[in-house]
């Protein structure tokens, strides 16, 4: 017996009352594409567990524009995100990342909420969400809170959301509005499909009013540290400077200098460090090309 009960939730409110009732003995599951693999590997269940499946909660199943934000329900699947014109136009890096995660079979089930809470260092959802400056809306029987994505991940596989006490319901993503804001993601892997990244980089670029200079840039690379890693010096170096190839090259080089990735089966530390520069540069150029801009030589 892998778990005792499996309850399919129909609303956030119902989920909250189950959470309150089970007092930490129930845990959330969405697509379950990672959780089920972990549970299947266990021969004996650790303790009495009820799984609360939130993948069919309607309130958490939509992607809508709300003011200057894109509101993405946590139960939206990776396939839905990848195929959403709204996400493609207003949060491109996220749509790209979602489309690279897993296989079609996995993307049809796995959710963006699960991807974030699972807190893998190079999660294809976490990386672009961090670059986009997204926040997570979290509900618990005690109330609601909002936390920046960058602060959710605490370590490899450790997220500050406790799936037995609370539920991430939505992600609030500042819109990328052309002609001044755009995002992009780059990812390299040993195979073209169905594989974890050797390295990925996501950026959000905002130009000043005249579109001559970078206003604000966010640059994330992974796996470079246990959580999605911001290339802070590279970001600062771009703020307020003209959109030139030199500036982009210099920022990408700074990102490489500051990155300290580790060796793993998928790539050596040395190679990954070199590639940080390449992927950051390409992602910045992609974002500019989204805005119909090429940097001055």
């Amino acid at each position: 017996m892998r778990w005792q009960r499996y309850e399919v939730m129909s609303s956030i409110q119902e989920t909250m009352s189950f959470l309150a009732q089970h007092k930490g003995k129930a845990r959330m599951v969405a697509g379950g594409t990672d959780l089920m693999v972990q549970i299947r590997a266990m021969r004996e269940p650790e303790e009495q567990t009820t799984l609360l499946d939130i993948s069919r909660v309607e309130e958490m199943r939509s992607i809508v524009e709300s003011g200057s934000f894109l509101l993405v329900g946590a139960a939206v699947t990776m396939a839905e995100l990848a195929g959403s014109p709204l996400a493609q136009n207003k949060a491109k890096a996220l749509a790209q990342g979602a489309g690279w995660m897993g296989s079609p079979q996995i993307r049809n089930v796995a959710t963006i909420g699960g991807n974030v809470v699972n807190a893998q260092p190079a999660a294809d959802g976490n990386v672009p969400l961090t670059a986009l400056g997204a926040t997570a809306r979290i509900s618990s029987p005690e109330g609601r809170r909002e936390v920046a994505i960058g602060e959710l991940c605490l370590g490899v596989g450790t997220c500050s959301i406790n799936p037995s006490r609370e539920l991430v319901t939505h992600f609030k993503i500042p819109l990328c509005q052309p002609p001044l804001q755009a995002s992009a993601m780059r990812r390299m892997s040993k195979r073209k499909a169905f594989t974890l990244p050797q390295l990925s980089a996501a950026v959000r670029v905002e130009l000043n009013e005249s579109a001559e200079k970078f206003q604000r840039v966010k640059i994330v690379a992974a796996p470079v540290s246990p959580v999605p890693w911001r290339a802070m010096r590279a970001e600062e170096a771009l703020a307020g400077v003209p959109v030139t190839m030199d500036a982009i090259n210099a920022a990408a080089a700074l990102a490489r200098e500051d990155a300290s990735p580790r060796d793993s089966l998928r790539g050596s530390a040395e190679y990954r460090k070199e590639m940080v520069e390449v992927l950051v540069r390409r992602a910045l150029l992609d974002a500019l090309s989204e805005l119909g801009r090429a940097p001055r030589a």
Binding site: M1, R2, W3, Q4, R5, Y6, V8, G32, T33, M36, V37, R40, R43, E44, L51, D53, S55, A79, G102, S103, P104, Q105, I106, N108, V109, K192, A193, F194
Partner: protein
């Protein structure tokens, strides 16, 4: 835990079942509803063999809780078409040879069905993306993509032209549809894991976690105490001789005194369900005294290395001597010398190993995946001390082998289980168990040295080949002999010196795999020829043209080639193709 009653549309038919809350959709379909067309290849959502459609979308049913389909629709391969009327996808998979072993086929068909429902006119690129979660080891995907394109065209009402296979009859000069194709596209082909018998028990292996250890004691009591456990078998339960092996019998059916690799079977637990058998297997208490382990065959060859087997670690040494290699190197203007390493490879057939055994009167019957049922029959007779006319091995539809299913893998465990309990016994390995205990391709260390004249003609060749056979011999003698004879590939050289060794280590057993010792040679002789070409100022094609065997050439085993020497012809075709590019 109470079961939940769920109602869902299964292939268009409203279905109500009571299902365990922790049952996965794949289990519900295969074990409770008997729809065995959907396969389990990995149990981790990685291979795509378990793909079914939920509300029209492809999902990995091995990770999908069954209770979740309540009120939704599920489509499996059984609902795609019928013997009387195949779905165009099924038809084109047959006509274009997109079906080989058939294990990935149901999943691929369902994925393709979902694609065509959404996109009636997909491009090859869109097809590739859509099927990127369905692994296939046989076809190389090319024919699958062609079949999906053809089916899409037919469904759109377009005519499909071009080559296609035809139904049986005379096969001479015609490309015919494979005889076992229709059941494979319908999901009705019976792989060993799909076969069940009344009163059947399930078995699981207890394997050594240590690469090298003395077995001090085995206590099966904790497993036997569990409710539903029927038997726990060790080497003591073997009525016959406890040794086997295709060339030499150095392997134990169940380990006795020593375990020589991590994953070596030590005991087998028989229980009422597979899950219970696996849980009970973990309860078998085995005391090990760990021994130093050797993983590198070069280390294992040293005279002072710890012996893994009593006769020492060098299992086999194959020598080939032709001409006088010292003279050959003296005559050489150019000498090139390199060291090479090739890796161990798992066959990764999509179907993990499975077998079921039962008594048919006084006949022990084993139905299993296999590439060599006759060999298995002899080993099982030896295990059970039965005459071979009382052992019958039936090859079930086999989901890929690539050489890995020639060996005895798990067939002996179920046979022993049936022998002891009298009941049918089934064993199905998980992907992890398959990777752990099945054979691999030999990993090689190679030292190569070629001598050539200034104009690029080989004068001498030296090769030392060290093959890691792992803990047991399996096909090592034959594989390393093949390596030795193929050491120069298709090239002609008057003076040759080859030493080929098969060496025991405490790693997984290496066995037969596609090419059988030859593929490890080409990454050695080819780069050396390129190096000679560079030094002589020849093109890569010229250096090969100069050295390739042709009628009248003497091979390294000094066979004079007479007819059917196709190497040069092949080279010229490739050269022509390259020029035209």
């Amino acid at each position: 835990m109470p079961k939940k009653e769920i109602t869902f549309s299964l292939n268009g038919v409203e279905t109500t079942v009571a299902v365990g809350q922790d049952t996965f959709l794949l289990q519900l379909l295969r074990e409770e509803l008997g729809l065995t067309g959907t396969k389990e290849g990995c149990g981790n959502g990685e291979c795509g063999a378990c793909t079914v459609l939920v509300d029209g979308l492809p999902m990995a049913s091995c990770l999908y809780p069954a209770v979740k389909v309540d009120g939704h629709s599920v489509n499996t391969v059984e609902g795609l078409g019928s013997h009387k009327k195949l779905h165009p996808l099924q038809e084109w998979f047959l006509k274009l040879g997109a079906v080989q072993c058939g294990f990935c086929t149901p999943g691929l068909l369902m994925t393709a069905k979902a694609l065509l429902d959404r996109n009636p006119n997909p491009t090859p690129e869109e097809i590739k993306l859509a099927i990127s979660g369905n692994l296939c080891r046989c076809t190389g995907y090319k024919k699958v993509i062609e079949a999906i394109l053809a089916a899409a065209a037919e469904l759109r009402g377009a005519t499909v032209s071009g080559r296609q296979d035809v139904e049986g009859g005379g096969s001479l000069g015609r490309s015919i549809i494979r005889v076992d194709g229709a059941p494979k596209v319908l999901g009705s082909a019976r792989f060993a894991a799909d076969i069940s018998r009344p009163g059947m028990f399930h078995a699981a292996v207890v394997a050594s976690p240590h690469p090298h250890a003395r077995i001090v004691s085995i206590d099966t009591e904790p497993a036997l105490k569990m409710d539903g456990v029927v038997a726990a078998l060790t080497h003591k339960d073997i009525p016959g001789v406890n040794s086997y092996g295709v060339i030499i019998k150095d392997q134990r059916f169940l380990a006795e005194d020593k375990a020589r690799y991590a994953g070596e079977p030590v005991a087998v637990v028989i229980a009422k369900t597979g899950e219970l058998a696996h849980r009970a297997a973990e309860k078998v208490a085995i005391r090990y005294e760990t021994l130093p382990a050797i993983f590198d065959p070069r280390e294992a060859m040293k005279p002072d290395a710890i012996p893994i087997h009593e006769k020492g670690n060098i299992l086999h040494h194959r020598k080939i001597r032709k001409g006088n290699v010292d003279e050959g190197f003296k005559r050489a203007d150019i000498i090139v010398e390199r060291q090479f390493v090739t890796q161990s490879v798992d066959h990764a057939y999509l179907e993990p190993e499975a077998a079921i055994s039962y008594w048919d009167g006084s006949m022990m019957v084993v139905e299993c995946c296999s590439q060599g049922p006759h060999y298995l029959r002899h080993e099982i007779a030896r295990l059970l001390d039965l005459p071979i006319n009382r052992v019958r091995v039936i090859q079930a539809t086999t989901g890929g082998g690539f050489g890995g299913k020639i060996d005895l893998l798990l067939q002996h465990f179920v046979a022993l289980g049936t022998y002891v309990t009298g009941q049918p016994v089934k064993m199905v390995w998980s992907r992890e168990e398959s990777l752990r205990t099945s054979t691999k391709r030999h990993a090689f260390y190679l030292n190569y040295k070629f001598g050539a004249t200034r104009d690029g003609r080989l004068t001498a060749a030296y090769a030392e080949i060290i093959g890691n056979t792992g803990a047991y011999a399996s096909f090592a003698h034959a594989v390393l002999t093949r390596s030795a004879t193929m050491a120069l590939g298709p090239y002609d050289c008057p003076n040759v010196h080859v030493d080929s060794y098969a060496v025991y280590t405490n790693t997984q057993i290496a066995g037969a795999m596609r090419g059988f010792g030859a593929p490890q040679m080409s990454p050695c002789h080819e780069p050396l020829l390129d190096e000679i070409a560079r030094k002589c100022g020849l093109s890569p094609v010229d250096v090969r043209r100069l050295n390739m065997v042709r009628p009248g050439s003497s091979t390294i085993t000094q066979q004079i080639l007479e007819h059917g020497v196709g190497a040069l012809e092949t080279l010229e075709k490739v050269a022509e193709h390259l020029e035209n590019q």
